[in-house]
Subunit: 205 residues, 3 copies
C-alpha cells in the first residue's frame, strides 16, 4: 500500500510541477523537467545526504515512467480544461505528508538520531517544491508569507512519527499512517482557516 | 580522443560561463566560479546521483587547471575583443552533446535501466548551464521560450545512443559518435531554422 | 579548540541566515530553514562532493541543536533590538575562514591534489551563503560588485594552508591557524579599505 501511495505522491508532484510552468512560456520538455524535479527533488536530496546511492529513482524506472506520463498528460489536459484547485491542493499536501514521513522513516532505519530524522523528513517533504520554485524564478513556497503551515506541518507529522517509532517500534504501519495524517490535516486545516506562524519583522537597522 | 573532446567541452563551458557574467558587474573571482560551475556542474550532479564519488574533477586536476586558465584568458580577452557568437554557439552545442552522451554511457556502465541512462545523459548535459543561470539570476536556458531544441536535442541523442549500445554493444566508439552527432546537429539545426516545441499555455484559471 | 570554533562558526552562520530574512516576510519556520542552510550548506556540498557520506551534521546532532537554538533566539531578539553590524561582519568572516580551511584540510586528508583541496576549501566557505542568497532571491554574495574580497580571501587562506600542509605537515594546528588568520584578515581588511578585484566589463557585443 505504501508503494501505491508513493506513486500517487509522485504523480501529484508531477502535476504541481507542470502547473508551476503556467504563464511562463516553457516548452513541453522544460515542463517535463519541472515535473521530474518536483517529484524526485526531495528524495534525491535525502538519498544524497544520507549516502544511500545511487538515488531511489535510478533503481526503479517505474517512478520515472509515472512522472513523465503524468506530466505529458497534464500538459495537454491543462491546455483545454481547468484543473480543480482543491484537488491539486490535496494532492500536493498528500505528497508533502508522505514524502516527509518516508524520509524520516528512512533516516531512522539508517540509525540517525531523532532530531536528524525529523530534519531529513522535512527536507524530503519540501526540497522538491523549493527546487521547482528556484527554477521558475518564484519565491520558494517555504518562504512565502501566505504559505500557512507547510514545513511546519511536515515538522509536526515527522516529530510525532519519530516519537511513535521510538516508543512503539512494533506497529510500523500505524506509526506511518499517524505521521502522514497529522501532516496532511495540519496542512489542509491551516489553508482552510488561514493559520500562519509569526513573521520575521526585525527593528529597522 | 574522447579525452581531448572532454577537455574541449570543459573549455567551451568555461567560456560560456564567463560570458554569462557580461553586464553583471561580477569580479574576476566570481567569473572563475561561474566558469567552474558551468563546466563541472553537469558531471558533478551525475556522479553524485549515481554515487560515483568523489566526483570526477577531484580525481584529475587537469580539468580544474583547464577551466581556470580558459576562464582567466576569456576574462581578459573579452574586455578587448568581440567573441564570435557563432563559435560560442557551436562550442556550447558540442559541450551539450558530449556531456550528454558521456553521462548516458556512464549510467549504462553502472547497469542503469535505459530510461534512467537517458535521463542521466540529459542531466549531465544541461545541469551546468542551469546552475550557471540560477547563480546569475537569469531564466535557466531550458525554460526560455526562444531556446529551440536543447534538452530535447540531448534527449534524442542519448536515446539513439542507448538504443545502439543495447543492440550493437561491440562498437562503442561509433555509438558515442552517433549520439554526439545527433545531439549536435539537432541543436544547431533548431537554432538555424528556429524550431521549437509547443509551449505550455493552459486555459486561464 | 577546533571543535569550539566550529560551533561558533555554525552559530555565526545561523545568525547571518536569520538576518538575511529581514524585510522578506518569512515566517519562523522559513527563518530556521535559512539558518540551517547557511550553517550547513558549505560542509554538506563538501561532504557530498568528496563522497564522505552521510554528511557531517547527520553524525552529530549537537550542530543541529546549536543552529536551531541560535536561529530562534536571533528571530526573537532581532524583533526588538538592533544587531551591531560590525559584530555580524566579524562572525561571518570567521565562519568563512574556518569553514574554508577545514574544507581544505578534509580534502587533503582524503588524498586530494593541492588544487582540488583549495577548490574544496573555497566551496566549503562560500556555498552556504550562496544557497541562502538563492533561496531569498538575492544576488549571491560572491557575485556582488561591492563584495570586496570574499571567495578571494578564502582562496588565499586555503592556498597558504595547503602549501604549509605540504611542506611542514608536522605542525597541523599552526597551519590551520595561519590559514584561518589570513582569510579572516584579508576579508576584514578588504571591507575596511574597500579593496575589490577588477570587474568583468567586456566590449559591447
Amino acid at each position: 500500500m505504501l508503494h501505491i501511495l508513493e506513486h500517487l505522491s509522485v504523480a501529484g508532484c508531477a502535476i504541481s510541477g507542470v502547473l508551476a510552468a503556467r504563464g511562463k512560456q516553457i516548452d513541453l520538455f522544460g515542463v517535463i523537467v519541472l515535473a521530474l524535479v518536483t517529484a524526485f527533488g526531495g528524495g534525491t536530496v535525502r538519498d544524497i545526504t544520507l549516502g544511500d546511492l545511487p538515488v531511489f529513482w535510478t533503481r526503479d524506472p517505474a517512478f520515472l515512467l509515472n512522472a513523465v506520463v503524468v506530466a505529458i498528460a497534464t500538459f495537454y489536459i491543462a491546455r483545454r480544461r481547468h484543473f480543480p484547485l482543491t484537488a491539486l491542493l490535496v494532492a500536493d499536501a498528500l505528497a508533502l505528508a508522505l514524502f516527509a514521513v518516508i524520509g524520516a522513516q528512512k533516516a531512522l532505519a539508517m540509525q540517525m538520531a531523532p532530531s536528524v530524522a525529523i530534519t531529513m523528513g522535512i527536507i524530503t517533504g519540501v526540497a522538491g517544491g523549493i527546487i521547482r520554485d528556484l527554477l521558475t524564478g518564484d519565491i520558494p513556497v517555504v518562504f512565502r508569507k501566505e504559505t500557512h503551515f507547510y514545513a511546519t506541518a511536515a515538522f509536526c507529522g515527522c516529530a510525532v512519527y519519530v516519537l511513535l517509532a521510538s516508543f512503539c517500534p512494533t506497529d510500523s504501519q500505524r506509526n506511518v499512517v499517524t505521521g502522514v495524517a497529522i501532516t496532511l490535516l495540519l496542512r489542509l486545516a491551516s489553508i482552510r482557516w488561514k493559520v500562519t506562524l509569526p513573521v520575521f519583522e526585525p527593528v529597522e537597522t
